[in-house]
Symmetry: C2
Subunit: 220 residues, 2 copies
Amino acid sequence: MEIPVVQNILNANDQIALQNRQLLDEHDICVVNIMASPGAGKTSLILQTIDALRDRVNIGVIEGDIASNIDADRVAAKDVPVVQINTGGQCHLDAPMIQRSLAELPLGHLDMIFIENVGNLICPVSFKLGEDLNVMVASVPEGDDKPYKYPGIFVAVDAVVINKIDLLPYVRFDVAAFRELILGMNAKASIFEVSCETGQGIADWVEWIARQRDANQNKE
Amino acid sequence: MEIPVVQNILNANDQIALQNRQLLDEHDICVVNIMASPGAGKTSLILQTIDALRDRVNIGVIEGDIASNIDADRVAAKDVPVVQINTGGQCHLDAPMIQRSLAELPLGHLDMIFIENVGNLICPVSFKLGEDLNVMVASVPEGDDKPYKYPGIFVAVDAVVINKIDLLPYVRFDVAAFRELILGMNAKASIFEVSCETGQGIADWVEWIARQRDANQNKE
């Protein structure tokens, strides 16, 4: 009797993530999945990045929220293509949602797509979307103990953007200890310190993300 | 042929939540489920409440986190009974976890139990634990647009504690608009403005929660 070997069989989400990946590769589009707690500054980081890169890179955005169009409206005001996904209660984006969103974007004219995931440090990590890069925004007022409590996301991401550093004088947050903790869990993580409010540190982040996009372009 | 009528059949979680409720009623214990984004100040609010009520109320605490004992250690330093639940990845507490935790607490000596749920504005709302009250902590630096994006939790709670009001001078947050938005969704919600850092506003919250406990006691 043959014993069936079950491996490399993708679940439904991962199958569609792979289709998204193939579609995006056909168009040479670099996709960045941005995850964070509610209110950490995901939208603000995307808006700052659009401003900094708009002369060099054609950017599209997919906004994920339980409800409302607030974030998509902020992005649309920058005159870039944007799709709002309302999950209607679901705590994360999934690959089918991204598939439907990609059908609404002018892929032939885009170089990069930023996906703003639902504000949640836990569930989004488990769902592939077809992205090239996973980035976490961690905001200073949330505290520097988050890697202990939510290790999964810190291990999974390519970069951690520490946002709201303009609030460092007013809260307890040890940047050096936070960096050390992240690197102890994820030695390859790039770490940036920014304030989307003042613009401090944004240039370093933007140069890094532009380099990732160039590397993506050159992989063919 | 009889058509089976399926109603009032509780799911497994709700059945155990009901058992928790019965056990807690036998001991006249008022249970408060505290939910929030990561880093909004759930533990700090519990610590402030313990300090304010410790001469009047015997408090126990159940700490929920994906990983680590950091929060339970902070509570234990106050010399109150505490149980740490590590969900190991699960994005919310559920009734069976609380059932196991209650078995570890000296119920005969407690008047109130605070449950600190996993930091997440979405998933915890859907799981009954056996609690009397649901309270949300919303921190000022998260921004005042959260009710639009995460309506489910704002509708579900008995009270919203606006924390980190000491940061109001440094961030954009319209307290009056935020209150109005919450009350438009949930007219019965009690709203408090506090700083767990400076202690400002804690007295009003503590008096409210103590009154809820007294009302609970008198319901027999």
